[in-house]
Structures are given as structure tokens and as C-alpha cells.
Point group: C2
Chain length 147, copies 2
Amino acid sequence: MENKTKSLWKSRRTLNSSGLRITNQRTLLLDLIHRGEGHLDADELYRLAREKQPRISLSTVYRTLRMLKNLGLVEEVHFDESHHHYEVPPAKEHHHLVCLGCGKVVEIHKALSRYIKKNVADAKDFEIIDTELRMTGFCPDCRHKRE
Amino acid sequence: MENKTKSLWKSRRTLNSSGLRITNQRTLLLDLIHRGEGHLDADELYRLAREKQPRISLSTVYRTLRMLKNLGLVEEVHFDESHHHYEVPPAKEHHHLVCLGCGKVVEIHKALSRYIKKNVADAKDFEIIDTELRMTGFCPDCRHKRE
DNA sequence: CTCAGTGCAAAAGCTTTGCATAATA
DNA sequence: TATTATGCAAAGCTTTTGCACTGAG
């Protein structure tokens, strides 16, 4: 997809201009993260990475994720589990709809975001920086199975 | 506060009717959780508990929290950190506004919840079970300090 | 008296770190 | 060549578990 390639190049440029080296490991991990459907965790990424570079280490995965997070090139998302998930910070914010039946994750449209943000900011006199919305429930398929 | 006492008794009744024993440790932990301002983590709870019962163990804290969670008497909340926080599931849902300056946590009013829920449920044909909304930003105090 | 609950210590996940080696700029 | 990044192994944190003992019902 056109956008993914663009975003990949942006990442490489950021590394470069931060004086960081573009290694095979970093290239591979960036590629996997951009190619992936998001919501990868470190272990999953490690598993995928080893298919291409069997000698890559889990430390490198963690170190790379931390670095990318600090650069703002990936974001950490916190689900119910006790470990972190990572995704490319999309134009979209973190508005997820998670199916309790099959685990499917659906993105929620942005119009709501603006509405919520404005509403809360006004009511509480806060300057809102980030919004994270997570809803759980049952998708149509799983709902039918339950009935 | 009147409400906290009520909610404490509800918890004890739930334990009782589930055939679970009401021990000193459980009484103490329930009390601390209800007395607390919410968003306690296991370690903080352990620290507080030891002031009253020096021999209580961290395992007991974790076991009790898991039990209370399963009974629906406390809820696990996931913030940025890599460990869990617990709070009494209030009439209110998990709608938090967190100040990035001082860490203050403000509850968001419920009207929004209904609006969001209905909107998303309609648009995505999901049956929504739970909504978790977390916004970060700067409270009036911290905003002024920054300027 | 009995069995659920506890404390302790040990283990189990996930994540980070120290250090010698390898690879980039 | 000069550092930065890597792999490996070991350590660190948070959370869970096994087991013998304690205490609630």
C-alpha cells in the first residue's frame, strides 16, 4: 500500500537524522510493524522476525521498540493483558472496538473523537493531548453464535 | 462516607454467599480498597496492609485481588505502566481524565458514555459490553505553570 | 474437626541490562 | 577506524504457584 511505503521511509529518515544507524534488524522490524495489521506484541514480532533473520535476539526487538517509541514512530497500546502491544501511530487515534468472542479489533471512526474531546475539554477545563477509547462487546458473528 | 460502608457490606455479603471465608486479611484489604482513592496497585496495597497486619504476604494481596476481580467486586484498570491498578467498580464506568503534569485523575461524567455507546453500537452492529475511555492532557493548574 | 486460606519461597512471564563481539557510517 | 548496535546470558519486576501450616466455620 502506498501509505505504508511512505511511512516506512519517514521512519528511516527519522533514524538517520537522529544519528541512529540503519541496521538489518531495524529495517526488518520496521518493515514488519508497518506491514502488520497493528497490535503486535514483542514476542509476536520476535517470532515473525526470526523467520527472516533467525539470529535476531529478543533484546534487539525490545530495544528497537523502545527506541521507536521514544522517537514517536510506534505507540504502545495497553489492552487487558499484562504485556504491551505496539502499532504505527496512525492518523487515527486509539479508538478500538474489541470483540470478546473472537478477539477481532475494529477501528472506530474519528468523528466521535472530536466530539468527545471538545465536550470533555470544555466541561473540565483541561487541555486534552490524547484520547484513548476502548470498547468491548460482541461482533455480529459472535453474537449470532451465542444465540 | 455512607456509600463506602454500604459497598463494603455488599462485598462481605458477596463473599459469604459465595461460600468464601471472611478472613482478617480479606477484611483489611477490602477496607483499604474502599477507603482508598482508587487506582491502587498491588504493591501499594501491600504496603498499606502491612501497616495494620505486618505479617500479611504479597501473595495474599494478589490472590485477594484476583478473587475480588472474578467476583466483580474490584476492577483492573490499565494505565501506561506495566502493572495493574485496581479500583472499586463504581456506578461510573472507566472514564478517566489524567493530567500529564501532576498525575491527577478526574472522572468524566456519564452522559458521554451513553452517547458514545449508542453511536458505536449502531455504526458497527456490535453489542457493547464495556467502555473504557482515557484522555490525557493538562489540568488548569499545570497548564498555567507551563505558560 | 475440616477444608479453605495464608505465608513463605520458589518459579514463571515479560522486559531490561552488562559485556564482549559484530557491523555501520 | 570509531562507535553504535547486536547477541547472549543474567538480572529485574510484577504476578503466580506449590506446599506445609493456620484458622474460620
